[in-house]
Symmetry: C2
Subunit: 246 residues, 2 copies
């Protein structure tokens, strides 16, 4: 048991690598790394707290992270959508914190690479991506409090994924909106997509969007479709005035 404690409290070389990667993902320096280790420990590891005998894994942190995520998103929507009543705000939040969306978030950050388990990755099931994402939010709360949870969620959820006009159903696809506009204006467009994984551990794609031969926006994401959508969204913000008149 002392052996386990030692592992938790002393930084090994593996820890240093984990610490560095974690810092990149969360965007600030973690103080107590043991919370984060727990957030990436699968129940199959069968580790138990030596004092209480309680299992040490990410499952309870999911509960905490889920609550913090809901609170941060609620506060964001409250401010961003001043015309929405509480039913509408609840509905919008459900879309953002849906199991499907959380899985996407966890997958895009490739959180699985940190998970310690005694079972094969193929046996994890699809929801592990979202569960680990929630557990990470829980660990951030324990380590640095609500403020840092807010920062992290802003950086990793709100800025890259939360798009109020899209959520409101006013825009379902920036790409189709952009194409429609080009066709009306008789402008030529090209989405130049290529694989661009770089130093990332999972496959990435980049896209260059040309309008009448001029590069107007770029996008990079884990799928071709997402990269195109990102570039189109950026083009939308450049040509917002024109595109809004469609």
């Amino acid at each position: 048991m002392n052996f386990i404690r030692k592992i938790i409290n002393t930084r090994t070389k593996d820890d240093e690598a984990f610490f560095a990667d974690l810092k990149k993902i969360i965007g600030f320096t973690p103080k107590n790394i043991s919370y984060y280790k727990k957030a990436f420990t699968h129940r199959s590891i069968k580790e138990f707290d030596e004092e209480t005998g309680n299992p040490v894994n990410y499952e309870r942190l999911e509960f905490l992270g889920d609550a913090m995520l809901s609170a941060v998103i609620a506060a964001y929507l409250f401010n961003e959508v001043p015309s929405g009543d509480e039913g509408y705000l609840t509905q919008m939040r459900s879309k953002i914190v849906s199991r499907e969306h959380l899985n996407e978030l966890g997958r895009d950050l490739d959180l699985l690479r940190f998970v310690k388990s005694n079972i094969a990755r193929s046996k994890f099931g699809e929801n592990i991506h979202g569960n680990i994402f929630e557990a990470l939010v829980g660990a951030i709360y324990l380590d640095r409090g609500y403020k840092y949870c807010n920062k992290f969620i802003e950086k990793r959820v709100i800025t890259p994924y939360v798009d109020v006009p899209k959520l409101e159903g006013k825009i379902t696809s920036y790409k189709s909106l952009f194409i429609e506009w080009c066709q009306k204006q008789k402008k030529e467009f090209v989405f130049d997509v290529y694989e661009d994984t770089g130093n990332d551990t999972i496959k990435h794609f980049s896209v260059k969007l040309f309008l009448d031969g001029i590069l107007i926006a770029k996008g990079r994401a884990t799928s071709k479709k997402k990269a195109e959508e990102t570039a189109s969204k950026r083009a939308y913000f450049v040509f917002q005035k024109e595109l809004s008149n469609l």
Copy 2:
């Protein structure tokens, strides 16, 4: 419209009284009183924001307060019940933030006295107590942030009402536990209950609990039953060792 704005931004004599009462309830000095005014404005007032045209009432604040309440209670239970898994913690939280419980909280603080409306109080329905309580939490978040929400919820929800052994079903009534113990120990007990409303706006009761003629605990609440339960709970903590051996 300027008239309404003036009412919101300038402190009237009514405001001063509201400010003083509010401070007692929340336990700290509010900064921006307009949030709290909104938390006590019923939709029947039909007030609209002069810039956006959005209705000014407590309904959206309920959404925000509900989210903050859930987050604060989640963090509390996470720390207090280290042996509970996430299903168990979720279940315990549901009990604490149940509609019924929130109505009780709002009623005990007599929040209704602050509500501005154009309909009769009898038409509000029972849930208004809890709704206003949630809206108040939302206003605290906007005014002072998460930390003060946490403080308020600790003061008004956790300390007086959240009782982990009771929630865990280990103790359903401190009064019956106490009585059972007295009977086993052949001790005499007296619950001396009397009306004790004092300066409060709603009826209160006090109870003195005597054991073999000696005053051992007191309780005060909005019903006889609650006051007796409070006194018994206090007696429980005094005689915890003996009572736990039952």
